[in-house]
Each structure stands twice: as C-alpha cells, then as structure tokens.
C-alpha cells in the first residue's frame, strides 16, 4: 500500500517472521508436553500439576514476548506496568480464594 510505513510508529515493533515461527514452535512444544504427560500418566499426580502449570506459565511468557512484543515496548513501559499490576491482582484473587476456601471443605 501507499507509503504509510513512513509514519508507522517506531515503537510499534512487530518482530520478524523468524520470531513468530520460533514463538509458534515453542508454544506447540509447550502444549504437546503437558498433553503427553497427562494422557499417558507419565508422572505422579503432584509432579504432573507442577509441570503442567509451569508449561502454561512458560507458554504465557512465549506469547507475551514473541507474539505481543512486550519486550520491545517504548519507555516508559506503561503497558508492562499495567500488566504486572493486573497479574498481582490475579494472583491475589486466585490464591486468596483457594486459601480461604480450603477452610470451608465440607466433611
């Protein structure tokens, strides 16, 4: 199209084909491992939970850096700060709910 690239915001980084492909391959691997572990009962229950949660966490990081280009954000990193704040609230809500409700187990 016209020469719009000339005023495309410079901080608006978009990665390269290579970074997208790496991200895609990593996320496929990080998805296949937990599915394989669970479907084949490869590990003990507790270990399985830990491993698949770590895989999900890594997958989140892969999407953030390879697809959402969080690392390339211009300073000041308002988007990153907002995200970190959101994650703190997320952890508080989820961990807090699990913790407090563990005292409410019937029977």
């Amino acid at each position: 199209m016209e020469n719009h690239n000339s005023h495309s915001p410079s901080h608006d980084s978009h990665g390269s084909m290579k970074s997208y492909v790496i991200g895609f391959v990593l996320s496929i691997i990080l998805t296949i491992i937990p599915i394989a572990i669970v479907m084949n009962d490869m590990l003990s229950k507790q270990l399985t939970i830990i491993v698949i949660l770590i895989m999900a966490g890594l997958q989140f990081v892969v999407q953030l850096f390879f697809f959402m280009h969080l690392k390339d954000e211009a300073k000041p990193r308002y988007n990153t700060m907002a995200l970190v704040f959101g994650l703190i609230i997320l952890l508080t809500v989820v961990a807090g709910s699990i913790w407090i409700m563990s005292y409410n187990v019937v029977g």
Binding site: M1, E2, N3, H4, N5, H7, S8, P9, H11, D12, H14, G15, S16, M17, Y20, G23, F24, S27, I28, T31, P34, I35, V38, M39, D41, K45, T48, I49, I52, L53, M55, A56, Q59, F60, Q63, L64, F67, M68, Y78, N79, A82, L83, F85, G86, L87, I89, L90, V93, V94, G96, S97, I98, M101
Partner: protein
C-alpha cells in the same frame, strides 16, 4: 474512525502537517494503552472465574465428574486450532508492516476461519454434554465449568465478529494509521485469548482428567 480524524483536525489547522501526524501518533498509542487497560480488566474477570472453578472443582454433588465426561481429542484439536490462529494473526500484523494489504486481509481471514472452527468444536462439545444430561444446572462444578469455558468462547465469538468488521474496513480504507492500530489491537486480543485458553486447557481439562 471518522471522529478520530475530525478530532485531530480541530487541534491543528492546515500547515502543521508534521505536528498533526505526531499528534495522531500519540492519539493512536494512547488508544493502544487503553486496550491494554481493557486486557488487564479481562485478566481479572477470567481470574475470578478461574478462582471460582478451582474452589468448586470437587463440588459435583454426586453427579457426573469431569473425568467421566471430557472427551480429550476434541479439546486437543481446539487447542491446536487456537494456537495456530494466534500465529496467523501475528503473520497478519507482519504483512501489515510490510505494507501488504492483501496478505494482511488474507491472514486475518485465515485467523477468523480458525476461530470459527474452534467455536464449532466447542459448541459441539457443549451440545454433546447437554445431551448426556450435563447442563449448567447439574452441579456447582458444571456451573463453574460452563461459565468459565463459555465466557472464553464468547470472547472468541466477539473476536470473530470484530475481525470480520475490520477486514471489511481494511478492504475499503486500506492500511492507515487508524486501521493499523486496530489490527495491532485485535491481534493483541487474539493472543490474549490464546493464553487464556492454555490455562483453561491446563486447569480445567488436563487437571480434570488426570
């Protein structure tokens, strides 16, 4: 977005081309930040639904459990479809930055079709569950299940409608700073939905059947 254009016309009358462009750029990046704000609130929304689901994970009221009901092949297919669509939406953004309007529209269309395939599989799964007698009213567990997974499915559905509208707009107006920002935002949204699904897969499905 017409009002964005008229809005910035008010600020600078002719002869300030460069200033206007700068102003518009600021405007667009502010809107992107606004979208991140929306994503944060959406994270919190899903966080509360996940917390509810986890707390109620054993509350099946003596009825059917996840391990009895889940059919993993369909879920695994959904996962890879959504994962691939996250990748294709990234390729669309890449094409946009290369100034390739056709490539951009094409990859957005592929992403939307993959999204539709995902929704088709999810709706079939829900229909099958209901036919086997598991509804949102069966037990606290299934209420939490349908609310969490359904909210994600609703997000994907909204994303498909939005993407279709954006494709039409791109076909008409081409790649402008405004449509560029919109494509960036929808691809953020789509990656975000993929991340949420990964946690649905892990916490709801994988932990449900193990």
């Amino acid at each position: 977005m017409a009002q964005a254009v008229t809005g910035h016309d008010k600020h600078g009358h002719g002869g300030h081309g460069h200033h206007d462009e700068h102003h518009e750029h600021e405007h667009e990046s502010l809107k992107t930040f606004g979208f991140w704000m929306f994503l944060i609130t959406d994270i919190i929304l899903f966080g509360t639904l996940f917390a509810t689901f986890i707390v109620l994970r054993f509350s099946t009221d003596g009825g059917p459990t996840a391990a009895e009901m889940f059919k993993m092949p369909g879920v695994i297919a959904e996962t890879f479809i959504l994962l691939t669509s996250s990748f294709t939406s990234g390729i669309a953004v890449l094409q946009m930055h290369r100034g390739n309007k056709k490539g951009l529209i094409g990859w957005l269309a592929v992403t939307a079709v993959l999204g539709l395939a995902f929704i088709y599989l999810e709706v079939s799964e829900f229909i099958e569950l209901v036919h086997e007698g598991v509804t949102i009213g069966t037990s606290a567990y299934w209420s939490a299940f349908f609310t969490l997974v359904g909210t994600h499915g609703l997000h994907v559905s909204v994303g498909i409608v939005w993407m279709t509208a954006l494709i039409i707009q791109l076909a008409r107006r081409g790649i402008t700073p405004v449509t560029q920002r919109k494509v960036n935002i929808i691809s953020l949204y789509w990656h975000f939905l993929d991340v949420v699904w990964i946690f649905v897969l892990t916490i709801v499905y994988l932990m449900g059947v193990m």
